[in-house]
Amino acid sequence: MTQDESAQQAPGGTAGGDHPAITVRPGFRQAGTGTREKVFELRDLSVHYGDAPAVQEITMDVFRNDITALIGPSGCGKSTLIRCLNRMNDLIPSARVEGQVLYHGEDLYAPSVDPVQVRKLIGMVFQKPNPFPKSIYDNIAFGPRVLGMSGDMAVIVERALRRAALWDEVKDRLDANAYSVSGGQQQRLCIARCIAVEPDVILMDEPCSALDPISTGKIEDLMAELKEHYSIVIVTHNMQQAARVSDRTAFLMVELDSSEQHRWGRIIEYDVTERIFTNPSDQRTEDYVTGKVG
């Protein structure tokens, strides 16, 4: 991978002189984007719930094996945006999606595309851990079973749990109810469940916001391992987390229309993470990451 000039820069660069440093983890440097494979290409994506717009004119590219973070204040449509990527917004009757979402060049919203097939390739982990009311084993095995995956189920389950860094903690009690483990373990269980169906992309909608700092740290470490096999898009309201884990960051903000009736989200800046946090191009980005606003 060729390194561009932002490589090897010392961690701890700050944006704005006397504000606390936001450390950017070294090693997450990007190659030039020209030769990298694109997983998603969003072109002028807009989502409305009924009459009310939620996000407008989103244009960005998500790259393979990247961790792409979506940050921004509450209500700027980050969750709406990420749910477009696996067609979960289809489950909301009033949601209307315009624009294009290309997944490896294919239009995800083409009439011939089956959303169920989409979700087999693009998985999702939710904000509040949502294990099924079944045993740990059956939680992981559910996806492979309904998808008709062949192979030894015990092997599939073990591999998923190992990849989610949960195997050692639960290997002796796979029959226990999924609710009997801690919140952090439940979330890793949900990640394992997502991995078990062998997706291409993992979407994470604020996966750590309901967890304690130690569990959060474990999951952030996990993400660094996971990006070797998967492409990850993560929504986080925690800027420092975005700075810690992601390769690229998109900063969204709320806009109001002239009559102040509607508000929606728009991308202000999307760049390599280190630049967003140390040398952003837009003043609004700098204000947000230095804590001056929202």
């Binding site: 696996n86 979960m88 009757p93 939710f126 009311p133 559910f142 309904v146 949900c190």
Partner: protein, 311 residues
């Protein structure tokens, strides 16, 4: 930590005053409040006691009246015009046949309707609200109306089944269907959407999600609803009368196409007979019927407590 001891006379007075106020406020309740609380509790207890007393009196009186006939003969003998040898056997078999077919129709219809309304209906649409309203209305219709409905459309044309078990089953199914639909809907609605989303996000279809996540999670509530509906159906008398259950049967109903009688109807017939021996029999029959219903309802409650999913 020792108590604060005032050093000066002035401080002593101040502290005594402060402490006095505190102690009084903490230790005493205004007498009015105490009395009001006690009276309210007593009234509530009285209401409960009255209800239980009524039930107790009913059961007690029938036990006293019918105890001489509360023996195995009650169950092993068929009905007969001779009160000394009459029993409930054919009525029990009739009830069993009827309930068997009620369950056969009730479970798919009731659970299916609930699934449709909860999972496939758009919540709040006019169609769904209209169905909601009608289901709840149906739950309040007097049972004799269902009997007349069954007479006119099931026993007679267009279904023309005649005065047989199957006609009774269909009629009773309609009667208790709203109970099952309501209970099943509650159980399905209680399953959080996060479970459905988690399942769909893995690439499961809607039906796979319903069959493998929603239904297993709501099965306890559904089973409880079905048990309570069954218990209601067993006790229904009025709708069965227009369907021919009141005939004085002495043979055992043999199947869905057979003429029949049922427990409550037979007991009702006995009550109408002049001989006092039949009155004793009726009392014994009532005790048996109530025991059966109590057992069924207790089972429903046990089911719910044991298997209920707490979210």
């Amino acid at each position: 930590m020792g108590a604060f001891e005032p050093r000066t006379a002035r401080a002593e007075i101040a502290v005594a005053g402060a402490r006095g106020v505190t102690a009084e406020v903490l230790s005493t309740q205004p007498r009015k409040e105490v009395i009001r609380n006690a009276v309210f509790a007593a009234i509530l207890f009285l209401a409960l006691a009255l209800a239980l007393a009524g039930l107790g009196l009913l059961i007690g009186k029938n036990v006293v009246d019918g105890h001489s006939r509360l023996n195995l003969d009650l169950i092993t003998n068929n009905n007969s015009s001779d009160p000394l040898h009459a029993g409930l056997r054919n009525a029990i078999v009739g009830t069993l046949w009827i309930i068997a077919f009620v369950l056969l129709f009730l479970i798919p219809l009731g659970v299916g309707a609930a699934i449709f309304l909860e999972e496939y209906g758009s919540r709040g649409s006019r169609f769904t609200r209209m169905i909601d309203l009608n289901v709840q209305n149906l739950a309040g219709v007097p049972s004799i109306i269902y009997g007349l409905l069954g007479l006119e459309f099931v026993a007679r044309a267009p279904l023309n089944l005649g005065y047989v078990v199957l006609a009774a089953s269909l009629t009773l199914t309609l009667l208790v269907l709203p109970v099952v639909i309501l209970a099943s809907r509650e159980a399905i609605r209680a399953v959080p959407d996060s479970i459905r989303e988690g399942s769909m996000a893995l690439g499961a279809t809607k039906w796979q999600t319903i069959r493998r996540q929603v239904l297993p999670a709501s099965i306890a509530g559904i089973a409880t609803g079905v048990t309570l509906a069954t218990s209601r159906a067993i006790g229904e008398t009025a709708p069965l009368i227009p369907l021919g259950a009141a005939t004085f049967l002495t043979f055992v109903p043999s199947g869905p196409g057979s003429e029949f009688t049922a427990m409550p109807v037979t007991i009702f017939n006995w009550v109408k007979q002049p001989q006092p021996e039949f009155q004793t029999l009726a009392a014994a029959g009532i005790v048996l019927l109530i025991a059966l219903l109590v057992a069924l309802n207790s089972f429903a409650i046990w089911l719910r407590n044991r298997y209920e999913q707490r979210w």
